[in-house]
């Protein structure tokens, strides 16, 4: 068994540092050792984490390159999809353009209205407007025709642009119908 040696200091006590200073120095020494240990642990952990992140970056980069090659092979499909979307956007912008289709279906209705005795001589239609020229010998068919035109909910305004009577040819008229 090892005998514990006594801590003998033969120097006069006033020559050495004070006990409180020695205690403080010992505390600082322990703090330094602890800080060094923490620093070492932190450094090791940080380096390990950086290595792990580098590995992950390489792995994800490689996967990304594989995906990019796959997409490059599908480039034609991508171009076609882009073209389809571009064309559809342009076509959609055209749907706002004013067209005649909405009012055009009424042509047939107007023509059949003329069967009631009114002779239609000319019909002109452009977006939002239809102009009708006609003639009749008696006023009754003209009244029926006008009534049919007036009750049509698609016609916003009906304007009698011209109305004339000649004993030889009868009544002639021109109607301007607005569909907007």
């Amino acid at each position: 068994m090892k005998a514990k040696m006594a801590n003998i200091n033969l120097l006069p006590s006033d020559l050495g540092p004070k006990a409180s200073v020695l205690r403080l120095a010992a505390l600082l020494k322990r703090l330094t050792a602890a800080a060094l240990a923490i620093f070492c642990v932190f450094s090791v952990l940080t380096i390990a984490y950086v290595v792990f992140l580098n590995t992950q970056i390489k792995k994800v980069s490689a996967e990304g390159e594989v995906l990019q090659r796959s997409i490059k092979a599908l480039e034609e499909t991508e171009q076609k999809l882009f073209l389809v979307k571009d064309r559809l956007a342009s076509i959609k912008s055209l749907t706002g353009a004013q067209t005649l289709e909405a009012g055009f279906g009424d042509f047939e209705r107007i023509l059949t209205s003329g069967d009631s005795g009114v002779s239609l001589t000319k019909i002109s239609a452009s977006p939002g407007e239809i102009r009708i020229w006609g003639a009749t010998f008696t006023s009754r068919p003209l009244g029926d025709f006008l009534e049919e035109v007036l009750v049509n909910p698609d016609y916003k305004t009906v304007n009698l642009a011209m109305f004339a009577y000649n004993p030889a040819t009868g009544y002639t008229f021109e109607l301007g119908v607005s569909t907007k």
Binding site: L53, V60, L83, D86, S90, I91, A97, E101
Partner: protein, 226 residues
């Protein structure tokens, strides 16, 4: 005897404090550098992962739409060509006229300038001779032809057996896109509205384009004969 400038207690403490201060300084620098490296790599990794997600979604989408996108591209290109479609429109209207027994005369083409949209427009006008019902059928058929055409003006002169009519049609085209989005840019599939629009376009009558195959040389056994 040389007298020390600093007392012994201070000298003892100064060594320890200096060592600790140096360690703290190294720790601070190491902490900053280490965290900086980690932060940079984490940001790089996050960006790479995001790009990977975009690329995966893009690859999956392109793989899934590949079978049908070719026919869709053909349809939309026929509906809205990349060049002036005047000849195609005239051809389509002529086919309608033949089908309805209407005679077309005085066909004229004139640029209508830029339409108030992404597309440009061309005007085609013509005179028509034929029965009223046939002319009306022809005019109704125009909205079902590709390239997309709209009736600008129609005038029917109803004196006589056959109607003499004039028709003005506007047809549209738009230049093809010249730039593809970047490889890592996300790509979206067709929306519901776009799919509905495609379904509407599918009802259009496409122009019949004939591709003539080049014929090879033919051997003439008697070049001087009849």
């Amino acid at each position: 005897m040389k007298k020390d400038f600093l007392p012994l207690g201070v000298r003892v403490l100064l060594g320890q404090v200096g060592l600790l201060a140096a360690l703290v300084l190294i720790f601070a620098i190491g902490f900053k550098v280490g965290l900086g490296q980690v932060g940079r790599r984490r940001a790089d990794l996050a960006l790479l992962r995001k790009n990977k997600e975009i690329l995966t979604a893009k690859r999956d989408l392109l793989t899934s739409i590949a079978p049908q996108v070719a026919s869709q591209a053909g349809l939309v290109t026929a509906a809205l060509p990349g060049r002036n479609p005047a000849l195609l429109v005239i051809s389509q209207i002529k086919k309608l006229a033949v089908a309805n027994g209407v005679v077309l005369t005085g066909i004229k083409v004139g640029l209508s300038g830029e339409a108030k949209s992404r597309a440009a427009a061309v005007g085609v006008s013509m005179d028509m001779i034929g029965p009223v019902a046939s002319v009306l059928d022809l005019v109704s058929g125009i909205k079902k032809i590709a390239p997309i055409s709209r009736i600008d003006k129609v005038e029917l002169n109803l004196t006589g057996m056959d109607t003499t009519s004039s028709l003005e049609v506007k047809s549209y085209w738009a230049s093809f896109p010249t730039r593809l989005p970047a490889l890592t840019e996300p790509v979206a599939g067709l929306t519901k509205a776009e799919e509905n629009l495609l379904e509407t376009l599918a009802d259009l009558t496409l122009p019949a384009l004939v591709t003539l195959a080049p014929s090879g040389p033919v051997e003439n056994p008697n070049p001087f004969g009849e």
